[in-house]
């Protein structure tokens, strides 16, 4: 009798366990492990021979000894500069005895893994590449170490005056540096020289001319422009980029999120107008598809980060070699020229132990030093220093550097607000701008709903 009862209890327990086991996996912590999509995934680098960097940059020998045997882990975004890391890390290890293990992660994955690491204070990563837009969030939560003490101490060797002023936005928040500038990108307009010549027009210098050129160059299977339309970060960032070029902003003067303004609505309608002259699948484009559309010759123009420029001359991944030129991203007529600036800083985990933090600062100092920056850029890194952008050898290699220098000088690192709630704004815009593009919402209702979602998720 009792045994029967126990048996019954056991069976019901098992049943409960089975149901829970089958269903329980639906808790949201189950994040996918693969790096699914990464902005500018074309990590395949054009192979270039380069001389080994000069070795006398590192700190004096006795300084270096104390790091012998220290092992650092670096979480890097799989952007093009990852190949520069791959090339330079062994040289750094040889020079200092500090071992650096790099983990390459896609954009979404990197953000989530780092957040988990910071929140749990597990210090799995000592060094991490920090997207410009994460600065505010990292600063407010104290995830990364403020670098100002290190910077003040080593000001004699870092040559900070040489770093472009706009590059400091890669990690700056409320007066402190939460990540050190690593790779600066300028928003530029890539265009097909041959198509413009054939049509007898010059590259657009204003947004209005851009729209006209886009219309004119859309003929048959040839489309005017490639844009990011996919739901999520892609469409949100592209919209914010055009917003910057039209003089709009997602924040009001007091710094509050204000998406529903006449300017923002008008720009969204302009953005939608551009999509009529983009390949039909554009509302589904993430960074890599946009690149493909430009590289295989489907479109005549593409706005994008300057770091992708070198890839267009590589016949292995581009069918438009020699047909591309680049110009400043056009702004609205009558506007003071301001160019979208973005890119990556490199930060130190606030939870790592002090010796590792010291070693990590050593790495940052080394990789951003004047001489190593040259090697960094030669191996597909992106510049942050004036000396790199003006280096004659590099300018010969990359003729678009003077243009980038100009874009950096008039760069705006804040068109995507570097505030703690950025990811919430991006998510809301990512959903509703996409909904507008596919005809589910009007421009006004899309921005209104996005605003409502931001308000609901920020307290």
């Amino acid at each position: 009798m009792r045994n029967k009862l126990i048996q019954k209890i056991m069976y019901s327990c098992l049943l409960l366990v089975m149901v829970v086991g089958m269903v329980g996996c639906s808790t949201p912590t189950a994040a996918p492990t693969e790096a699914v999509v990464a902005p500018t995934t074309e990590a395949a680098a054009p192979t270039k021979e380069a001389a080994a960097p000069t070795k006398e940059v590192a700190a004096p020998v006795e300084d270096v000894k104390k790091f012998d045997g220290v092992e650092l882990t670096l979480a890097s975004m799989t952007d093009q500069y990852v190949s520069a890391f791959r090339y330079l890390i062994p040289l750094f290890e040889e020079e200092t005895g500090i071992k650096v293990v790099m983990d390459e992660l896609g954009y979404v994955d990197l953000y989530q893994k780092l957040t988990a690491d910071f929140v749990g204070k597990t210090a799995q990563y000592d060094l991490m590449t920090v997207d410009i837009v994460w600065s505010g969030e990292y600063a407010t939560n104290g995830y990364t170490l403020p670098l100002n003490d290190f910077m003040a101490r080593d000001a004699a060797v870092t040559n900070e005056a040489d770093i472009m002023p706009v590059a400091w936005t890669l990690g700056e928040y409320e007066g402190k540096q939460w990540a050190y500038p690593l790779a600066g990108y300028a928003n530029v307009l890539n265009y097909r020289k041959d198509l413009f010549e054939a049509a007898g027009i010059t590259p657009p210098t204003t947004q209005e001319e851009l729209l006209a050129a886009v219309k004119q160059l859309t003929v048959g299977d040839q489309y005017g422009i490639a844009l990011l339309g996919a739901k999520g970060s892609a469409v949100a960032q592209d919209y914010m980029s055009f917003l910057q070029q039209h003089g709009g902003s997602v924040l009001d003067e007091s710094g509050k999120v204000a998406l529903v303004t006449p300017k923002n609505i008008e720009t969204l309608e302009f953005f939608g107008e551009l999509f009529k002259y983009a390949p039909p699948g554009s509302t589904d484009y993430w960074w890599d598809q946009r690149e493909t559309a430009f590289r295989n010759g489907t479109v005549a123009m593409m706005e994008g980060w300057s770091i992708a420029r070198a890839g267009y001359e590589n016949p292995e991944m581009s069918s438009i070699v020699g047909k591309v030129d680049v110009t400043a991203a056009p702004v609205s007529a009558g506007m003071e020229p301001k160019y979208g600036f973005g890119g990556w800083g490199i930060g130190i985990n606030a939870s790592s132990d002090p010796q590792k933090q010291e070693a990590a600062w050593e790495f940052i100092k080394w990789i951003t030093s004047v001489d190593i920056q040259k090697e960094w850029v030669k191996h597909d890194g992106a510049p942050i220093r004036r000396s790199t952008l003006e280096d004659p050898e590099l300018v010969a290699m990359y003729p678009w550097f003077p243009l980038m220098l100009n874009s950096f000088e008039n760069g705006d690192g804040d068109y995507r607000p570097r505030i703690p709630t950025y990811s919430i704004i991006e998510n809301a815009l990512g959903t509703y701008v996409n909904a507008f593009l596919v005809g589910q919402e009007t421009a006004e209702s899309a921005l209104t709903k996005a605003q409502e979602q931001v308000v609901a998720n920020t307290k």
Partner: protein, 300 residues
């Protein structure tokens, strides 16, 4: 002393051996399933943001659950989830039954084809999603290429059009999981007794009649398993959606689990995400219980 201890342990082992045998499993299950479940129940009653530097947890009672009823995305995602579940489970059961009957005979071709049909099931849904995403791509994809060759206007591509995104995602799921149904039903078919068929043959029943009146009723328990497994899995769909549409265009393919993921992993609003996850748990549990009851009543 030692002997006495050994004896008493022996006695326990002999009289309550099932406890000892169950213990490892119970500990495992407690750690893996029960503890997280209770943890999620607990934090669903708190306002708890992962990104809060002080990690404060404020007790808010059932506020998180009430908030779910005011969340406009919940209704959209619940509707989408139901469409997805209905679309996938019904077509997979029909197709799976068809395939199982087709490949039940032990011919060489059947064995050969059967093993090939298992491949989609073995692939990670994320990879499947990415492959289909490129197949569906309006400008470079294979599927729109042939559709265009046939003179069909594909517009923004299957995943980009509001009306086609959901069917396109459902098709991926059907492609991947129909073989599972086929395997389960095949096992059921193989275990059916021969006698009823012989008796029916003697009584002059047609093949169609013996299928309707013998095969289908006898397969019912197997159907229950297949149905239940797929329904629950379909409710939890995430990877395929994440890899193909991210719930887009707009909200057209935002299913409940994807919304929970956004709340949890983008807004890091753990309390609310846990509350939503528990709502999903309840929905699925209720459906499971209803089906178990209905199917077991019909059986006897």
């Amino acid at each position: 002393m030692n002997q006495a201890l050994g004896k008493s342990i022996n006695r326990v082992l002999q009289s309550k051996s099932y406890v000892v045998l169950l213990l490892p499993l119970l500990i495992f299950v407690t750690l893996i399933a029960i503890y997280p479940l209770f943890f999620s129940l607990r934090i669903s009653l708190f306002d708890y943001r992962l990104t809060d530097p002080n990690q404060t947890q404020t007790f808010v009672g059932i506020q998180n659950y009430l908030r779910a009823f005011k969340d406009p995305v919940i209704f959209i995602s619940l509707k989408n989830t139901l469409i997805f579940v209905l679309g996938t489970v019904v077509s997979e059961l029909i197709l799976g039954l068809g395939l199982a009957l087709l490949f039940a005979p032990e011919t060489r071709i059947a064995r050969f084809v059967r093993s090939f049909l298992l491949i989609p099931m073995a692939l990670p849904p994320l990879v499947v999603g990415l492959v289909w995403k490129s197949l569906y791509n309006a400008d470079f994809g294979v599927i729109p290429y042939y559709l265009k060759a046939l003179g069909i206007n594909v517009g923004r591509g299957p995943l980009g059009e509001l009306n086609f995104a959901m069917p396109a995602v459902i098709l991926i799921d059907i492609w991947q999981w129909t073989p599972l149904i086929m395997v389960i039903l095949l096992a059921g078919l193989k275990s059916l007794p021969n006698e009823p068929y012989e008796a029916a043959y003697v009584d002059g029943a047609s093949r169609w009649q013996s299928f309707i009146y013998i095969t289908l009723p006898l397969l019912k328990p197997t159907f229950l398993i297949a149905f239940l497994t797929r329904t629950i899995q379909s409710f939890k769909v995430f990877d395929t959606i994440y890899a193909t549409t991210s719930g887009g265009p707009g909200q057209a393919t935002t299913v409940l689990n994807f919304h929970i993921y956004t709340v949890g992993m983008t807004f890091f609003d753990m309390g609310y995400a846990a509350a939503l996850a528990n709502i999903l748990l309840i929905v699925v549990a209720v459906i499971s219980i209803i089906y178990i009851m209905v199917m077991s009543r019909q059986q006897y």
